[in-house]
């Protein structure tokens, strides 16, 4: 079974801090994703990566950056945390299969981040 592990379930940081959220997957998936989830807004894609050192912006990349130095690890970075970045952050991974269906995404259980 695919396992996507996020480093923290709960995290509290202060405004202006640099925050790192870590995600590791154990199934050698090419794709990795970072989402945030807010009440009434569903899941919104922040960034995704389809290979090591490759990244693409999602719908809401402002205020965030990402790093993928190894295939199994995808980090989300809040360069200078602000209160409007208080949210649930979800990481996911999936396999690339260009010929057939979209391969399902496998999600971690999320990090609930509070910026004070």
């Amino acid at each position: 079974d695919v396992k996507v592990t996020q480093s923290s379930r709960y995290l509290v940081k202060r405004t202006g801090e640099k925050v790192f959220l870590e995600c590791v997957q154990d199934m050698d998936h090419e794709n990795m994703f970072w989402y945030r989830q807010d009440p009434g807004l569903g899941l919104r894609l922040i960034y995704f990566s389809y290979d090591v050192k490759m990244k693409e912006k999602g719908d809401i990349p402002e205020g965030y950056s990402v790093s993928r130095e190894k295939k199994e690890r995808f980090s989300l970075i809040l360069e200078s945390a602000s209160t409007n970045q208080t949210s649930m952050y979800l990481c996911a991974s999936s396999r690339i299969d260009r010929l057939y269906s979209n391969q399902p995404q496998h999600f971690g259980d999320g990090t609930r981040l509070s910026i004070l």
């Binding site: 794709n31 894609l45 995704f48 299969d97 979209n102 995404q105 496998h106 999600f107 971690g108 999320g110």
Partner: protein, 110 residues
Amino acid sequence: LAKTTQPISMDSYEGQEVNITCSHNNIATNDYITWYQQFPSQGPRFIIQGYKTKVTNEVASLFIPADRKSSTLSLPRVSLSDTAVYYCLVGSPWSYIPTFGRGTSLIVHP
């Protein structure tokens, strides 16, 4: 990217069949339809995926009409544990960018 429209919420009772419809008027020829389920404090979980007609697995069925402009997720004989948010997505094998939307919040009552 094809957008999807789902009801915001639905209510049902234990033992009933629940059908959640998703509209995707601009679905492209290569797009597949995928449904996820999310429980509180967990990440979404893949339920079912299809391209046309009907797909069934141990959890649900997915009905897709010929024009593919909508799809219906069918949950047979729901229980309290089916209370969750259900997301419909459309996308092609060549599209890396999945769009989840707001989903449908299903509440199953005793």
